[in-house]
């Protein structure tokens, strides 16, 4: 009788996960989604603890405590700008967990047939996602160089290692008793994870993170097959497909294919796209910028990764408030791949209390640019580069961009003239109507705000 309630519990848990994701589709129901997700998880865990197979509890509870002790501070003390890193880190945790479970199960049972296939898939994805996510984490945290690292024959080596790992995996499936093969398999998967990420530059991180999300989910799903556990299959598949869809959206937003992102790192093109001549740019001070903004009627702010680095979102909110108060229409244009992960900018601006109906997506804002008096670009680069639209041989050709160049005046806050992560020069900066505002995004925006406040006080 006891055993028969587990499928029901698991069914409820799976249903709550589906509802959770469904409710995520709108900001008004999203929090409900989180709560139902938590309930689902609780059901799943309690249900599992009650199972007859589980007899020793002390280690499990110690592990819960340790995990919570690490997880809670991460959740509460991590600044919002570090969200991409945390996500990468958490993919790493999840993937490693899956891989370790697979390993444990392998040594415990030496399973054959379908179960072994599922285990091998689980471990392959788990191990490679673990190292890949750690690499992504390192790159996002800037402990590793963000520039793509490439070497000759890289794709060949990568594919070779993957192929070797798969061959050994197959060998293990055919005869699981060959335990000596197992460590080789694990190491190859781990190495492939590292190699997968080194050639990927900062600009592609949103895609990669989404993809890793997908792998982590698929790994959990494979585990579900290995354990014959429907809940794991469902939850893992949900996660896998959500990550995959996000990755596809990101790719579309850059007009690149999966394979291109994974194997065709910008790195190879970078050397050829080097700046040839020094061209003159016009620069301006905070006072001048404030004046121009004050006389505008419609302002569009385009935030990018630079805003996140400088933590300028709160100052931007002040700017938004003061301009709105002076009767100027302010909106934020969000490019799908701005920042380092999907939706990165939205979260930061929401943290700073910018109303989310002021955040406008690319397709909706683009027709607005010709009517825009001032486009203020903050720490964004490639997503506003007109080369993507006009230069066929540009590495980012065909990537959908924000049509900032159509605005009456363009102002760009930037630390220096260094090209962005794609390493491509941006023609936008050399237009006659473009003003370069050199400096730290946060300082500069607060400078503008100060000026505007002074004007407001004077009038």
């Amino acid at each position: 009788m006891m055993q028969s309630i587990f499928p029901v519990l698991y069914l409820f848990a799976a249903a709550s996960f589906i509802l959770a994701i469904k409710w995520m589709s709108s900001p008004t129901t999203a929090r409900r989604g989180v709560i139902i997700g938590e309930i689902g998880m609780l059901l799943a865990v309690v249900g599992t603890l009650l199972r007859a197979e589980v007899v020793t509890y002390q280690w499990i509870f110690i592990a819960f405590l340790v995990g919570s002790a690490i997880g809670v501070p991460i959740a509460y003390y991590m600044p919002m700008t570090a969200v991409p890193q945390r996500t990468a880190f958490s993919h790493a945790c999840g993937a490693l967990a899956a891989a370790l479970i697979g390993t444990a199960e392998y040594y415990r049972q030496m399973p054959h047939g379908v179960v072994m296939i599922a285990l091998i898939v689980e471990m392959l994805l788990g191990f490679l996602t673990f190292t890949a996510s750690m690499m992504a984490f390192g790159k996002l945290q800037e402990t590793l160089p963000q520039r793509p690292i490439t070497f000759k024959g890289q794709n060949f080596v990568n594919l070779g290692i993957l192929a070797l790992a798969i061959i050994i995996g197959v060998a293990l499936i055919l005869s699981p008793e060959r335990t000596w093969l197992f460590p080789i398999f694990a190491v190859l998967s781990l190495v492939f994870g590292v190699l997968l990420i080194i050639p990927i530059g900062g600009a592609d991180m949103p895609t990669v993170i989404a993809l890793l999300n997908s792998y982590a989910g698929l790994s959990a799903s494979a585990m579900g097959f290995a354990f014959d556990n429907k809940l794991l299959i469902v939850a893992g598949a949900l996660d896998g497909s959500s990550g995959f869809i996000l990755a596809v959206i990101m790719c579309k937003a850059m007009n690149r294919s999966f394979t291109n992102v994974l194997f065709g790192a910008f790195g190879t093109i970078q050397t050829t796209a080097k700046q040839t001549t020094e061209r003159p740019v016009r620069s301006a001070t905070a006072e001048e910028a404030a004046e121009i903004l004050d006389s505008a009627r419609k302002v569009v702010i385009i935030p990018g990764y630079g805003m996140a680095v400088a933590q300028a979102q709160h100052k931007l909110r002040e700017l938004h408030d003061i301009l709105t108060k002076r009767g100027i229409e302010v909106s934020f244009a969000i490019h799908p791949v701005a920042g380092r992960m999907p939706g990165h900018m939205n979260v930061l601006l929401a943290e700073a209390d910018v109303p989310y109906d002021r955040l406008i997506e690319m397709d909706d804002i683009n027709p607005e640019f010709p009517r825009t008096d001032v486009a203020l670009v903050i720490g964004a680069n490639d997503v506003v580069n007109p080369a993507a639209r006009f230069e066929k041989d540009s590495p980012i050709a065909g990537m959908p961009i924000l049509n900032v160049y159509e605005a009456q005046t363009v102002m760009v806050i930037k630390r220096s003239m260094n090209p962005g992560f794609a390493g491509i020069d941006n023609d936008l900066y050399y237009l006659d109507k473009t003003l370069m505002l050199f400096g730290d995004a946060k300082c500069f925006v607060s400078g503008i705000v100060k000026e505007l406040n002074a004007v407001a006080a004077g009038s």
Binding site: F17, I21, S25, P27, R31, G33, V34, G37, E38, G40, M41, V45, R51, E53, V54, V55, W59, I60, V66, G67, I70, G71, V72, I74, A75, M80, V83, R86, T87, S90, C93, L96, A97, A98, I101, A104, Y107, R108, N213, G217, A220, L232, V234, A237, L238, D239, S241, S242, I245, I249, P336, M341, P342, G343, N346, E351, D353, V354, Y356, D357
Partner: protein
């Protein structure tokens, strides 16, 4: 398979506005691996090796569950606050 399809349908309707919270939510959900970890750690005949591996896995996925849900909630609170203020 059905779940994957369902996932596709559901995600497509999520606005980019919520992609980051969505991701951390799916992250937390993928920590469902904790179920497998528990089964392994708590098993009667578990050897030291499996127990150590299982233990680590439970720790890792608990980190994900806890921080995943908490941070999603924290992010959404920020969206929510705005919405309430405006009404």
């Amino acid at each position: 398979m059905l779940a994957a399809f369902l996932g596709f349908e559901l995600i497509r309707r999520v606005s980019p506005l919520l992609h980051t919270p969505l991701m951390s939510l799916t992250n937390a959900i993928s920590a469902i691996a904790v179920v497998g970890a528990i089964l392994i750690t708590g098993a009667k005949e578990a050897s030291t090796l499996t127990r150590v591996l299982g233990f680590t896995a439970v720790v890792l996925s608990t980190i994900n569950v806890v921080s995943g849900y908490l941070i999603t909630d924290r992010m959404l609170k920020m969206f929510k606050k705005r919405g309430a203020e405006k009404k």
